[in-house]
C-alpha cells in the first residue's frame, strides 16, 4: 500500500520544474502569447525525456505510467508552459501501438526526438458542438474537427463521427490546418478541415478510443491542478507582502479565509488527480468514471481558485503586470476542452448505470 509519489516521481517533477523555472519565465510566456513558437521549449522538454516516458523500453522508451505523464502535465500547468505535450507525448505514443509497426516506428522515433509533434482532433468524442463532423469513407476523411489541440502539428490523431480513430499527416491532400484565437494564448488550438483526405486507421475499438480520451482528460486535469496550485501560492505570497491600511492584507481574516477555502478545495484534488491517473493504468473498471469525475470536479475547483486568487491580488490581479491572467485563462480553457463539467457528470452517471 503506497498511495504517494515515489522518489523517482518526485525527481521527475523536479527535473521538469527546474527546466521550466529557468526557461519559461513570464517574459517567454508573453513572447509565446504574441506568436513566437514553442519549438525550443519543446526540444528542451524532449531532451528531458518527456516524449519517451510512456513508450515501452523495447521501443526505446522509459516505460513509465500515465501517472508519471500526469505529473509532468501538472508541472507544465504550473508554468503555463506552451507545449504539444498531450498529443505528442501521451496520446500519439499510445495510439501508435495500434498501428502496423512499419508505419508506427518512424513516427515514434521522430516524436521521441522532437522532430515532429502530434495534435489531437477529438471533437467527435466529447459533446459535439456546432457543425463539426468527420465522415470516414474508405480511409478518406471529409468534414471538419473543431477545437483541435495543436492543429499545426505534423501528425494528427483524428476521431471520426463513427468513433474510429485515424492518423492524418500535415500537408495531406485536402487537409486545412487552421489556428483560432482563444483566451488561452499559451495553447495552440483550432480546426482541421478534410476533403477526401487520406488517413491511416488506428483503431475502431470503442474501449481503446475511450481510454485515449480518458488519458487526454486526465492530462488536462493535472494541468489545471498545477495552474491552480500556482495561483493559490501566488495569492498567499502576495497577501503576505501587499500592505493596505498599514497591515499586510494577508493579516485580514477575510483574506486568510479566502486562502484557506482555496486550500481546502484544492488539496483533495491532488489525491484525486493521482487516483484518476493511476486508474488509467491499473483500475480499468474505474478509469472512465474517475477521469470524468476528476475533470468535472477539478475544473469546478480550478474555476473557483482562478477567480478567488485573482480577487486576493486585488487590482494588480486584473492587470497584465504579474501575468496572473495566463493561469486564469489556462484553467478556463481546460474546463471546456474535451468535455465540460455538465457533460462529464452526466457521462459519469451513465457509466455507473444510473
Amino acid at each position: 500500500m503506497d498511495f504517494g509519489l515515489s522518489s523517482d516521481q518526485v525527481a521527475l517533477q523536479d527535473s521538469v520544474d527546474r527546466y521550466l523555472n529557468e526557461r519559461v519565465g513570464l517574459d517567454q510566456i508573453r513572447l509565446f502569447a504574441d506568436g513566437s513558437d514553442y519549438r525550443e521549449i519543446w526540444q528542451g522538454l524532449t531532451d528531458l525525456g518527456v516524449t519517451s516516458l510512456l513508450l515501452p523500453e523495447d521501443q526505446g522508451g522509459i516505460g513509465l505510467t500515465l501517472l508519471d505523464a500526469a505529473l509532468v502535465a501538472e508541472i507544465l500547468g504550473r508554468y503555463v508552459a506552451p507545449s504539444p505535450f498531450i498529443g505528442s507525448a501521451v496520446i500519439a505514443p499510445q495510439a501508435l501501438q495500434h498501428v502496423d509497426d512499419t508505419i508506427a516506428a518512424p513516427y515514434l522515433s521522430r516524436l521521441v526526438d522532437g522532430g515532429i509533434t502530434a495534435g489531437i482532433a477529438f471533437s467527435e468524442l466529447a459533446g459535439r458542438r456546432g457543425d463539426a463532423g468527420v465522415q470516414a469513407i474508405g480511409n478518406k476523411l471529409s468534414g471538419k474537427s473543431l477545437f483541435v489541440l495543436d492543429p499545426l502539428a505534423e501528425l494528427q490523431l483524428v476521431a471520426a463521427t463513427d468513433g474510429a480513430l485515424y492518423l492524418v499527416e500535415a500537408g495531406a491532400p485536402g487537409l486545412q490546418q487552421l489556428v483560432h484565437t482563444t483566451i488561452d494564448r499559451t495553447r495552440i488550438s483550432g480546426e482541421l478541415r478534410y476533403d477526401n483526405t487520406p488517413a491511416t486507421p488506428v483503431t475502431d475499438d470503442a474501449d481503446t478510443v475511450a481510454g485515449l480520451l480518458d488519458a487526454a482528460r486526465v492530462m488536462l486535469v493535472a494541468d489545471t491542478l498545477g495552474a491552480a496550485q500556482h495561483m493559490l501560492d501566488a495569492a498567499v505570497a502576495y497577501a503576505k507582502e501587499r500592505k493596505q491600511f498599514d497591515r499586510v492584507v494577508g493579516s485580514f481574516q477575510a483574506v486568510k479565509h479566502l486562502c484557506a477555502e482555496m486550500t481546502a478545495e484544492l488539496e483533495p484534488c491532488r489525491a484525486m488527480m493521482w487516483y484518476a491517473a493511476y486508474a488509467l493504468d491499473e483500475l480499468p473498471e474505474e478509469a472512465s468514471i474517475t477521469a470524468s469525475q476528476a475533470k468535472a470536479h477539478i475544473s469546478e475547483v480550478g474555476t473557483f481558485v482562478a477567480r478567488t486568487a485573482t480577487e486576493v491580488h486585488g487590482g494588480i490581479g486584473f492587470t497584465d503586470l504579474l501575468g496572473l491572467h495566463y493561469w486564469f485563462k489556462r484553467i478556463g480553457f481546460n474546463r471546456q476542452a474535451l468535455g465540460a463539467p455538465e457533460s462529464l457528470r452526466e457521462q459519469a452517471a451513465v457509466l455507473q448505470g444510473l
Binding site: D184, D246, G314, F328
Partner: protein, 400 residues
C-alpha cells in the same frame, strides 16, 4: 403600491420611443466614440432634446430641466432597449460636471461644461494610486504652491482613458501635516502639461482601458482647483456614491440574461439545443431569479429615492451583489457555448463579438475595483449592521 409611472411619464416614454424608432440609426455604434462627426451630431441632437445631460442648465449647453428620477430612468431604459448609446458618457460628464455645478466657480463652469458636453474636452480621473486603492485617503501624490502655480509630483493608477483624455481632475495631497482626509485638494489640468507621462496598463481582457500616470514637477495654475485647499476629499465624495450604484445596474443584467437565452436557443451539444437541457435550464432559472431580485431591489431604491424613503441596506448591497451576479451570468454563457466560449479576438466562431469572455473577466475586475467585495462586506457589516470596526493594529515597521 403602484409601479406604473403615470400617464405624463408614459407620454414622455412614448415620445422617446418614437424618436428612437426613427433615429436610433444615427447613433454611433461605439459608445467610446467622442470624435466622429456622427457621434458629435448625435450628442448635439440629444442635448437639444434633453435626452442627455438633461439637468445641466441651458447657459452651459444643457437642457435646464429639473432633476427627475423617473425621466432619467425612462431615458436609460428606452435607450438600452433600442441599443442606442445615450450620448457621451465618461467621467467628465458623469462626475466632473455635477461636481462643478455644485462646487465650481462660475468661470470654471463656463469654460469647462460646454466643451465637455460636446466631447471637445475629454476628461480622466486621477484618484487611485499604487498603494492607495481600497485605502484611497492615504494617497501620496502631492502638490505645493510655488508662486501662482501648483507643482505636482507622484503617480496615479487605474486612470481610464488617460491616453486619450484632454484633461484630468485629480486628487493630490496639498496639506502634508493635516489628518489624512483633510490634506487633499481637487485640481484640474490639461494632459498636455509638461511633466505628465501616461503608461497604458494592459488588463486581463487584453485591452488598455486603464493607465498609470506619472507626474514630475507638473505646473498648474493656482486657480485650477475646485473647492478650497484641503477640501478635495469632500469634493470627490459629493459624487462617488453614484459610481458604485452604476456598477450593479440590474437592467444591464437583464439584457445580458436575454442574450444567454438566445445563446441557449442556438447552441447545441450533440445536435441537441442547450435550452432543452434541464441542467442548463435550471442554472438559467437560478440566475434569472437572482436578476429578478436585483431588479425589484432596484425598483425599491428608485421608489425610495422618489418618495424620500430610506432603504440603506438595499442600497449598500447593490455593488457587491450586482457585480457577483454579472460575473456568474457571463460564466453561464461561456459554459453554454462550451469550447466555442473560449474564442476570443479574431476567432471566426466568435459568439456575440466575444463579449461574453470579455464581460466575464471585466466583471471580475469590477468585483475588485470600486471597493472590492471584501471592502463592501466591511461596509455592510459596519455601517449597515452596526458591527464593530476592524480593530486598529499598531502600524508595522516599513509599512508602505
Amino acid at each position: 403600491m403602484d409601479i406604473s409611472y403615470g400617464t405624463d411619464y408614459e407620454r414622455f416614454r412614448a415620445e422617446v420611443r418614437s424618436f428612437l424608432a426613427k433615429h436610433a440609426v444615427d447613433a454611433p455604434s461605439n459608445q467610446r466614440d467622442y470624435r466622429s462627426a456622427k457621434a458629435v451630431a448625435w450628442q448635439r441632437k440629444l442635448l437639444e432634446l434633453g435626452y442627455t445631460s438633461r439637468t445641466v442648465p441651458k447657459r452651459y449647453g444643457g437642457y435646464g430641466a429639473e432633476p427627475d428620477i423617473l425621466i432619467s430612468r425612462i431615458l436609460a431604459d428606452e435607450f438600452a432597449a433600442a441599443k442606442a448609446t445615450a450620448g457621451f458618457g465618461g467621467q467628465g460628464i458623469a462626475m466632473l460636471i455635477p461636481t462643478l455645478l455644485e462646487l465650481g466657480t462660475e468661470e470654471q463652469r463656463q469654460s469647462i461644461i460646454p466643451p465637455t458636453l460636446l466631447g471637445e474636452m475629454l476628461w480622466c480621473q486621477g484618484y487611485s494610486e499604487p498603494n492607495a486603492g481600497s485605502d484611497l485617503a492615504s494617497l501620496k501624490t502631492n502638490a505645493y504652491l510655488d508662486g501662482d502655480e501648483w507643482v505636482i509630483n507622484g503617480s496615479k493608477i487605474w486612470t481610464s482613458s488617460a491616453h486619450i483624455a484632454d484633461w484630468m481632475f485629480c486628487l493630490v495631497r496639498t496639506e502634508p501635516d493635516a489628518p489624512k482626509h483633510d490634506g487633499i485638494s481637487f485640481l484640474l489640468f490639461s494632459m498636455d502639461t509638461p511633466g505628465i507621462e501616461v503608461r497604458p496598463l494592459v488588463d486581463m481582457t487584453e485591452n488598455k482601458y486603464f493607465n498609470e500616470v506619472f507626474f514630475t514637477d507638473v505646473r498648474v495654475p493656482a486657480g485650477q482647483i475646485v473647492g478650497k485647499r484641503g477640501q478635495g476629499w469632500q469634493v470627490a465624495n459629493t459624487i462617488l456614491g453614484h459610481e458604485r450604484e452604476l456598477l450593479g445596474d440590474p437592467n444591464a443584467a437583464l439584457t445580458r440574461l436575454n442574450g444567454v437565452i438566445d445563446l441557449m436557443r442556438t447552441e447545441t451539444i450533440d445536435g441537441r439545443r442547450v435550452i432543452d437541457m434541464p441542467v442548463f435550464r435550471d442554472r438559467l432559472m437560478r440566475i434569472q431569479g437572482r436578476v429578478m431580485a436585483m431588479r425589484f431591489n432596484d425598483l425599491r431604491l428608485l421608489s425610495a429615492k422618489l418618495n424620500q424613503q430610506s432603504a440603506p441596506l438595499a442600497r449598500m448591497i447593490v455593488k457587491l451583489q450586482g457585480t457577483e451576479l454579472r460575473h456568474e451570468l457571463e460564466k453561464l454563457a461561456i459554459d453554454v457555448m462550451g469550447e466555442f466560449g473560449l474564442g476570443y479576438d479574431d476567432n471566426e466562431y466568435l459568439r456575440g463579438e466575444g463579449l461574453w469572455q470579455w464581460n466575464y473577466m471585466f466583471y471580475l475586475g469590477l468585483i475588485i475595483g470600486g471597493g472590492t467585495s471584501q471592502i463592501q462586506k466591511n461596509i455592510i457589516s459596519e455601517r449597515g449592521l452596526g458591527m464593530p470596526k476592524e480593530p486598529k493594529v499598531a502600524p508595522t515597521a516599513g509599512a508602505m
